[in-house]
């Protein structure tokens, strides 16, 4: 019951918003505080290993179910926390942006939807809140209602709808392949129809993958995240795409975490690894080439989601020994939420006061924004994985997992490990670029308006504090939250895997430092040679490819339609011609009189009547021929009987 209450609180908040029209009460803050508190109270048990479930007492094919295990609890608490932080930040920001009420409504709605997704106990409920989240967050994206926003909104909405539909398809396929109802958090299923199950899992993974920004389905993400108001971007990048990750973890659960190889969909692990690697790579390369700060961050969201997906893939691939992958992913989900939110918030601060997000127009801002610069620096360190900050911890875990996978010798995994390092360099390079161009570099000529609100600093500082805390005590979080989660997912061995693990070993630290160094070098080379201004040709980018494919499809469909149309026109033309010819022929026949056939003039009766008489005669003769062969050429040799008059048969009255 209380589980269901959690998503309802924000909805009540919307009503409260109606009631407090005109008063300056920060309803989202109140609501998220309440949610955070209640969530913590409700989910304590779930974290302790006692999952909660609640089924609504209704009849019919759909019984809404809510459940909370450790995984849900972690995500719910993370959500509530991040919302809380952002709701401190957003009122100030939205003063600048405008449309506060609309923003607050969609914020609350999205919160409700996300909580619902994380607390859903069956896939229908999950899908329900998933779709709700799509719609609610769509209003974030189109908040500005200008052409760019609407275009991004369409991108976002159509991709998300496709995701929802794919999820539905997956649910259908998996539902057909399994005997019972599909419940979230119920562990692996044994399919009766493995093929359908595989396809279903693929569809579900694709559906969540769209949300998670998994390449090649990430196209919507940079558009949507960069055009939304900054607090919304923070939440979109910090949390909404994590719904995809959550979904992928749950998908993995359908197949089974921590099982030996040979389960129902063994391809899922390698596939996710492959896609995760691609996502990382695509995201980071695209990020390097961006000039807009928010777009750069958005591409980094893609890239960081790649880390998470990679971790999941490796975890699934390794089966029983893949605990590190799963743990690393979950850990990275949390960390990414923290530093990506901080980064977006920082960029937002600069945007509020300078009105600019193009990196090449900024520079030397550390003088005007000292606090922001420091906090941003911490976040940059976090995302690049510098030792001592939270990113380091999760990236290290993920790296260990990938290395372990690479030890199997599978070329995919070997390449995954190599690319993992490469992406680390790329990340470092692009953030060096971001930080350098924004805060260092040549001072900008832009006018800086207004003063910095303390709320901005407080919210960012809170995030930074946690980042640093996690960075210094990486195992604390791991043992408190991630391990119970893995255990809840059936990965009993996870705790054992990390028992012997030390984050502060020289190899990792040195490796990371080398990566950072290389990143800075790359950044320097890029900035000096202008390589970051390179625009890839259309056929090389996915977006361009997509456009080409779309144009192609459009052309094909237009051609097809043209053919169809002309065929239909032909048919209807022929039809109408025949009909009109027929009718006019009838008309003429009816009105023609006194015609001439050959040299014979027919008077009084219409010519057509005469023709028809002839036709009738011919018809009769034809039938007669068919029946008797009447017009015999040879006459009978005997007496011609056919005109003999049978007098014998005449009854003669007089004769009697």
């Amino acid at each position: 019951m209380l589980l269901m209450l959690l998503p309802i609180i924000p909805l009540l908040g919307i009503f409260a918003l109606r009631g407090t029209r005109g008063k300056s009460i920060n309803i989202p803050f109140v609501v998220s505080s309440l949610t955070l508190f209640m969530g913590q109270q409700v989910l304590r048990h779930a974290l302790g290993g006692n999952p909660l479930t609640y089924r609504l007492p209704v009849s019919g094919p759909y019984v809404p179910t809510f459940q909370a295990d450790a995984l849900s609890a972690v995500f719910v608490l993370l959500t509530a926390f991040l919302w809380w932080i952002v709701s401190i930040y957003s009122p100030e920001y939205m003063k600048h942006e405008g449309g506060t009420r609309r923003f607050e409504i969609s914020t609350l709605l999205t919160l409700s939807a996300i909580l619902g997704v994380f607390l859903a106990g069956d896939f229908f409920t999950l899908l329900l809140f998933f779709e709700l989240m799509t719609v609610a967050s769509f209003f974030w994206v189109v908040h500005r209602w200008n052409n760019e926003a609407i275009r991004a909104g369409y991108f976002y909405l159509f991709f998300s709808i496709a995701g929802g539909l794919l999820l539905a398809l997956g649910i259908v396929l998996v539902g057909t392949a399994t005997p019972g109802l599909l419940a979230v958090g119920a562990g692996p299923v044994t399919p009766t129809n493995p093929q359908a199950f595989s396809w279903g899992v693929a569809a579900i993974a694709a559906g969540f993958g769209i949300k998670a920004g998994m390449a090649p389905l990430h196209l919507w993400l940079p558009h949507a995240h960069s055009v939304a108001p900054t607090p919304a971007s923070a939440l979109l990048s910090g949390l909404l795409i994590k719904v995809g990750a959550y979904g992928l973890i749950r998908t993995g659960e359908l197949v089974g975490w921590g099982l030996e190889l040979g389960h129902a969909a063994t391809w899922l692990g390698p596939a996710l690894t492959l896609l995760g690697t691609c996502t990382m790579l695509v995201g980071v390369i695209a990020a390097l080439l961006q000039s807009d700060a928010k777009r750069l961050l958005a591409y980094h969201s893609v890239s960081q989601m790649g880390y998470i997906i990679l971790g999941l893939g490796v975890g699934l691939f390794l089966g029983k020994t893949g605990g590190l992958g799963l743990l690393g992913s979950i850990y990275h989900v949390v960390n990414h939420a923290l530093f990506k939110a901080a980064l977006f918030l920082g960029v937002g601060v600069i945007y509020v006061r300078t009105g600019e997000t193009n990196l090449y127009n900024l520079g030397g801002l550390w003088r005007s924004f000292p606090v922001t610069a420091v906090l941003m620096f911490l976040a940059v360190l976090g995302i690049t994985g510098a030792p001592g900050l939270n990113g380091y911890a999760s990236k290290t875990l993920l790296h260990h997992a990938v290395s372990e996978a690479a030890r199997t010798g599978l070329p995919l995994m070997v390449w995954a490990e190599r690319l993992f390092l490469l992406v680390g360099v790329g990340t470092a390079a692009s953030f060096a670029k971001l930080f350098y161009l924004t805060f260092l570099g040549k001072p900008t000529k832009l006018a800086i308006s207004g003063g910095t609100s303390q709320r901005f600093h407080v919210s960012m500082a809170a995030l930074a504090l946690i980042m640093v805390g996690v960075g210094f005590r990486p195992k604390l979080f791991l043992e408190a939250l991630a391990v119970p989660t893995a255990r809840a997912l059936g990965m009993e061995t996870a705790a054992a895997t990390i028992a012997g693990l030390s984050f502060w070993n020289t190899g990792d630290v040195v490796g990371m430092l080398i990566t950072l160094g290389l990143g800075m070098v790359v950044c320097w080379i890029g900035l000096t040679t202008g390589a970051f201004h390179w625009t890839p040709p259309r056929w090389l980018t996915l977006e361009g490819l997509g456009k080409i494919v779309c144009y192609g499809l459009g052309a094909v469909s237009r051609t097809g339609e043209g053919y169809y149309r002309s065929a239909m026109e032909l048919v209807s033309d022929i039809g109408s011609t025949i009909i009109s010819r027929l009718l006019s022929a009838c008309h003429r026949l009816d009105h023609s009189r006194d015609g001439t056939i050959g040299n014979i003039t027919l008077a009084g009766i219409s010519a057509d009547a005469a023709i028809l008489l002839v036709v009738l005669a011919v018809l009769i003769v034809f039938y007669a021929y068919m029946e008797f062969g009447l017009p015999r050429l040879r006459l009978p040799a005997s007496l011609p009987t056919w005109l003999r008059i049978p007098f014998e048969s005449v009854p003669c009255l007089i004769a009697h």
């Binding site: 719609v135 189109v142 929802g164 396929l173």
Partner: protein, 481 residues
């Protein structure tokens, strides 16, 4: 039995009464219309209740040695429920929409007559009665199609009549063949042709039936009357050309497949195996054409063409899940489509805009209308808080369960194209100039708006709680499988 007779007669009596009332006196006429359609609705709910409770209600007789009978079974009861409930909504909407229009008396007369006839289709107990009411429906709705009396409307009316009568002719031939085989046309005793095995020519008979009913169900090459008929007043387009008339065709096909041939026999025929693909083609082609229409009502009409084939697709899978999906879709699609049409009507009435390209800014003038319109659009995609998701879900399950997973893909693709079809309209409506004064004022508008919002609400409610309509679906599926 009394309920059945009263349900059928209320509309007819009301229609005749209205025909006899003096030309002035809109208020009186509205009251009569409301009272009789409400009565009809109540009685048909009672009939449906009795049917679901397992009682047999039957009225029968003979014409020229041919027995006709009215005996609703669960399928008929579900159809009757949909029709009668929506009729009430459309009636109230009409009061708002038709105020100030010409020829109101004719309109309401045939509006109520058509109600009776549609219920007759729903409650018919054998092929003859079905055919009879099906044919009558054409004539009862013709004056509504040509209500505007423009040359365009007249042309549309002629098209409608010609298509419908040709279809009815095909049905008549098929009925006669069935009659000559079985000597019996009743639905009640299980599938009519099931006992006779695979007769030669069976496939042709099925094709004749499907083609005949397919005219009204707007299967793709036979759909052309439907977009043309959109020149009718919006309540008519909403109720008749999105639900009642077209559903009678769909209902006929369901009847033919499940009551005349039986799903087993249909499955053995070549034609039966082709049919799902015909429906799939219509689904995709209809919605693709819809996206290219600029006139909102035409867009909705082509979309109707597409959506009707969802129902047919479910029926053609010959699987319990598919049938469940079909019945679900009959229920859910009707609520949403009527909402969409109502919205189009309000927009046209209050702002005079009928084209999608003119919609910019309408959302701020008619916020509640466009919100409900948006909700219904989401439903057309098959998004979850709306009831169409469930129908789509079961349709896909039916397709997958019979091994035709491509059908599920077709449905998914169609859902996405649906998004392209409607979402831009809604977004554009809100994208335009803001701060215009609201036009949702006046009692006329609220009479139109209330049914629309209520229907959208029902769609949401049944989407969240499909258990509300599930007993009906379950009963139909149990009846035929």
């Amino acid at each position: 039995m009394t309920d059945l007779a009263l349900a059928l007669l209320s509309g007819a009596v009301g229609g005749i009464l209205i025909g006899l009332t003096p030309r002035a006196g809109n208020r009186l006429r509205n009251i009569v219309a409301l009272v009789f359609s409400a009565a009809s609705t109540v009685f048909s709910w009672r009939v449906a209740g009795a049917v679901f409770a397992g009682r047999t209600i039957r009225i029968s007789g003979e014409i020229a040695g041919l027995a006709w009978s009215l005996q609703p079974d669960p399928l008929g009861a579900v159809f009757g429920l949909i029709v009668s409930t929506l009729w009430l909504f459309a009636g109230v909407y009409s009061f708002g929409y038709m105020a100030g229009e010409h020829k109101q008396r004719t309109y309401y007369t045939y509006f109520l007559l058509a109600f009776s006839v549609t219920l007759g289709v729903a409650f018919s107990g054998n092929l003859l009665a079905l055919y009879l009411f099906y044919e009558l429906l054409t004539f009862a709705t013709y004056p509504l199609v040509i209500h505007e009396r423009t040359s365009e409307a007249m042309k549309a009316g002629a098209k409608y009549i010609i298509y419908s009568l040709s279809g009815a002719g095909a049905i008549l031939i098929a009925i006669i063949i069935v009659y000559s085989w079985t000597g019996n046309l009743e639905f009640a005793g299980g599938p009519l042709l099931a006992g006779g095995g695979l007769r030669p020519g069976l496939g042709w008979v099925l094709a004749l039936f499907v083609a005949g009913f397919g005219v009204k169900a707007a299967i793709m090459p036979l759909h052309r009357w439907l977009p043309a008929a959109m020149c009718a007043p919006t309540p008519v387009s909403a109720l008749l050309h999105a639900v009642a008339v077209v559903y009678s065709g769909v209902y006929g096909i369901l009847r033919v497949i499940y009551s005349v041939f039986g799903h087993e026999l249909t499955g053995q025929l070549h034609v039966g195996r082709i049919l799902p693909w015909v429906a799939a083609f219509t689904i995709l082609a209809g919605v693709i054409i819809a996206t290219q229409q600029d006139e909102l009502k035409r867009r909705l009409a082509y979309h109707t063409v597409s959506q009707l084939s969802y129902i047919l697709l479910g029926a053609f899978t010959l699987h319990p899940w598919g049938l469940a999906g079909a019945i679900c879709h009959m229920i859910s699609y009707s609520t949403l489509k009527v909402t969409l049409f109502f919205g189009a009507g309000i927009i046209a009435k209050r702002t005079g805009k009928v084209r999608v390209s003119e919609m910019s800014g309408v959302g701020w003038q008619l916020p509640r209308t466009m919100a409900a319109f948006g909700v219904a659009s989401l439903g057309m995609i098959g998004m979850l808080p709306l009831n169409t998701f469930w129908s789509k879900y079961y349709l896909m399950r039916g397709g997958v369960a019979t091994g035709k997973w491509q059908l599920a893909l077709v449905l998914i693709t169609s859902g996405l194209i649906n998004a392209f079809c409607f979402i831009p309209t809604v977004v554009a409506a809100f994208a335009g100039e803001r701060g215009q004064p609201t036009l949702e004022t006046g009692s006329g508008t609220s009479l139109m708006l209330a049914p629309m919002l209520l229907l959208a609400g029902i769609a949401l409610l049944t989407g969240l709680w499909p258990g509300l309509v599930w007993p009906g679906v379950d009963a139909v599926v149990d009846w035929f499988f």
